[in-house]
């Protein structure tokens, strides 16, 4: 199993690590496959995600995908951000070993649940038809 240079680069120098003071949305997802956890924080202004940060307890692929998705989501409108899939993140990282693709699902789910959290806070209603691929909120163990 080998990681692409892109994955290693994001793993070595992850972008957007950390928590956020007064985030507009928080997503916390546990990975059902191996027991890893990701938290994502977003700032939203005029329906656009202006900042994103993460914390991840997981492997190099989980860290790299967290880093990548937070990069990709910045500057996107909520509807555009919702169109982001884990497959797009994987492609942006020049691929992941098959056994590691599930780690990228963590990022997509964390983003969706952060948006869900944001919508709940602002509109009182969460994301319509929110389906997490991971199927298991909270730590997987």
């Amino acid at each position: 199993m080998n990681y692409s240079d892109k994955v290693m680069e994001h793993f070595k120098n992850p972008r957007n690590v950390g928590e956020m003071d007064s985030p507009d949305g928080i997503g916390r997802i546990g990975n059902a496959s191996c027991g890893d956890i990701m938290e994502m924080y977003i700032k939203v202004k005029d329906n656009v995600i202006t900042d994103a940060k993460f914390k991840t307890f997981g492997c190099a692929a989980a860290i790299a995908t967290s880093s990548m998705i937070t990069e990709m989501v910045k500057g996107k409108s909520i509807p555009a951000a919702l169109k982001l899939t884990n497959q797009m993140v994987v492609e942006a990282l020049d691929g992941l070993p098959p056994v590691k693709v599930h780690c990228s699902v963590l990022g997509e789910d964390a983003l969706k649940s952060a948006i869900d959290d944001y919508l709940k806070k602002t509109t009182g209603k969460g994301l319509e038809g929110l389906k997490l691929k991971n199927n298991e909120a909270g730590p997987g163990h």
Binding site: M8, C34, G35, G58, A62, H141
Partner: protein
């Protein structure tokens, strides 16, 4: 960058002197030991000399050694060989939950064939309780298989005590000694075992060759059929260069064994102490003293092992982990779960296994680099709230 190899439980380098003895047996003395002509005779003589050398290391008769392709084959051959040879006597095996997969998976397959297997629990250090072995023996028990030392956590089992019990009960005892032969003293009579598996590449021999010790008089169905080699107990043309390498590695191990232990113990203990003293919230996995001289295994809270491993690798340090993320199957190490670790702690496990060329400087380097890596990864962890 200087690379530091701390994964000697996975494999070790073949010593140059071992390789040197092997080389002529590829292209010059390439005879088949089964051939009657002089080419065959010189290969046969070399194989038998290697057998005697290996017998010298584990204190058995040369005739009690069957050469195999490695530890995994030896384990398979022991389990299947004994169970099928003793079908009229019984159908029960006793083993432990922390055996290598080379024992556990054959056991699971044997269960599918109708055999019964008891998987004994271990305590928090990974020790099998000899009393539990005794309690598990029934009149249908044929074989007890308990590893000499665990590959992940390094715990050394009380094999002598277990063999007192198996002898009394008239049950055979097999031990997987892949992690101990050539590393600590292994004497089949002192241990009191009937079968023992070993592998050359774990103690500075080549890969692809190992042996199964079978005490004289022990009945064994051959695991590989199709020829008369190894006294019909293991068909297939002998891996002559590999066997020569195993013999040489055994000879060197015998001469060096005390030195090896004396070299590794202080390094191991310094590394353990250095990690525990310098990094908060770390636990040592395995037994504090009944432990392989080469083995250091710790769990670092709040972070994941594969990430640690890769960060260490970027610093030139080769280690290993029992984390689910690196297992391929995404299951955490069965050994770490069996000693009572939570999934989260198993996730944060990292193993350093030392070898004969490691130095105090290597340990210094790990102790300098590792705490920083832990700190960085913890800053990234949602579980770490400090």
């Amino acid at each position: 960058m200087k690379r530091i190899y701390l994964d000697n439980a996975a494999t070790t380098p073949t010593l140059p002197s071992v390789l040197k003895e092997m080389l002529p047996y590829f292209s010059e003395r390439y005879g088949n030991p089964s051939s009657l002509h002089s080419f065959g005779q010189e290969a046969r003589a070399a194989v038998e000399a290697a057998r005697a050398r290996l017998a010298g290391l584990i204190n058995c008769q040369p005739a009690e050694i069957i050469f195999t392709s490695g530890g995994t084959e030896s384990d398979n051959a022991a389990l299947f060989g004994v169970l099928y040879a003793n079908k009229s006597k019984g159908d029960h095996i006793i083993t432990s939950k922390i055996e290598h997969h080379a024992v556990l998976e054959p056991c699971q397959w044997l269960e599918k064939q109708g055999f019964k297997v008891t998987y004994l629990d271990v305590d928090k250090y990974g020790l099998v309780d000899p009393a539990a072995v005794k309690a598990a023996i029934t009149d249908k028990t044929v074989l007890v298989s308990i590893m000499h030392a665990n590959n992940e956590i390094g715990t050394i089992q009380p094999i002598e005590q277990i063999s007192t019990i198996t002898k009394e009960a008239g049950v055979l005892l097999h031990t997987d000694a892949v992690q101990t032969v050539g590393q600590i003293e292994v004497d089949v009579d002192k241990l009191g075992v009937d079968l023992l598996s070993l592998s050359a590449h774990k103690f500075y021999g080549p890969k692809g060759v190992g042996a199964l010790y079978v005490r004289k008089g022990t009945r064994l169905e051959p695991y590989i059929r199709g020829g008369g080699q190894e006294k019909r107990r293991r068909a297939s043309t002998e891996n002559v260069p590999g066997i020569i390498g195993l013999g040489k590695a055994a000879e060197i191990a015998k001469a060096e064994i005390n030195e090896r232990v004396a070299h590794l113990l202080p390094l191991r203990d310094r590394l353990i102490k250095g990690i525990l003293d310098n990094i908060p919230e770390v636990i040592l996995n395995g037994h504090p003293v009944q432990r392989l001289p080469k083995n250091v295994n710790v769990s670092v809270k709040y972070i994941e092992g594969e990430a640690m491993l890769l960060k260490l690798d970027l610093e030139g340090i080769a280690a290993s982990t029992g984390s689910a993320c690196s297992s391929g199957t995404l299951d955490p190490s069965h050994v770490l779960l069996a000693i009572g670790l939570t999934h989260e702690l198993a996730h944060g496990s990292i193993r350093f296994s030392l070898g004969r060329t490691n130095t105090d400087k290597d340990i210094d380097h790990v102790l300098e680099v590792f705490p920083k890596i832990v700190k960085k990864l913890r800053q990234m962890s949602p579980l770490y709230k400090k």
